[in-house]
Symmetry: none
Subunit: 153 residues, 2 copies
């Protein structure tokens, strides 16, 4: 019928990038409502934006990180659950994301009550990581580019 699977056009991708640059990643609804982008993205939902951004990010950094992780987990588990989200400071070679998480987790204090600030740190960190991942294409991250990228907060 019409469009069971609406592919993203270059225009839409550009609008999404611009939107993220202006409002920051994670502000999908905000980007969607921005008159500057709503004209191009009118047929997309906030979830669509999020999903597309995820795909683009996966492309930007190392190559197939999402699929790789998914398949790896699929092959390995099945009836296996990995409870313990904290303190999995094993030394085996993990993905970059996991390493970062572990380090940050042990860096910030573990006292109960300051969860709020801890989460803020993680969120900011995530933002920076997004910036770096995406700016990897031009060839090297520099302060100015990342600052500009993050500015739209």
């Amino acid at each position: 019928m019409g469009a069971p699977k609406q592919k993203w056009t270059p225009d839409e991708e550009a609008a999404l990038k611009a939107g993220v640059r202006k409002h920051g990643p994670g502000k999908w609804r905000t980007i969607l409502k921005d008159p500057e982008f709503s004209g191009v993205l009118y047929s997309r939902s906030n979830v669509d934006l999020k999903d597309k951004w995820r795909n683009m990010s996966v492309m930007a950094n190392g190559c197939g990180s999402r699929e790789k992780a998914r398949l790896t987990l699929k092959r390995m588990n099945q009836a296996r659950k990995q409870d313990e989200r904290s303190l999995s400071v094993s030394t085996e070679a993990k993905s970059d994301e996991e390493m970062t998480e572990a380090r940050l987790a042990t860096t910030s204090s573990d006292s109960p009550q300051i969860r709020g600030s801890k989460r803020s740190i993680i969120r900011l960190d995530n933002l920076i990581m997004e910036a770096i991942s995406n700016l990897k294409e031009p060839g090297g991250s520099n302060k100015t580019t990342i600052a500009t990228y993050i500015e739209g907060l």
Copy 2:
């Protein structure tokens, strides 16, 4: 990232249930302060407890109230196509899904952003920026390196 989205463990769920049995639903702060549960729920806020209880309740009753589950219908739709996503902004009665989408798109106002407590993360922003500019690695900085740099505060 690994855990910006902290999944509830069975232990935590059990503690929450026990807490509600002991203090009653709606006494989130009270449950949180109870020494009997604070050990397990220390990383949760009263709001987290409230939200989790809501999710659990939804599960308990006949399959979905908050996320109205027409899963059975959904399964059928999957087989077919739900064509014509663009065009016809009004016209015929669409699925609940799209109705909701439309409604959401017109609510709330603009320019919320940075308020009071969120200011603190700006400091970290600068910190990470400094890390990035100082690391100037060839090929771009990676997450681990930056995390390591920041760790040495």
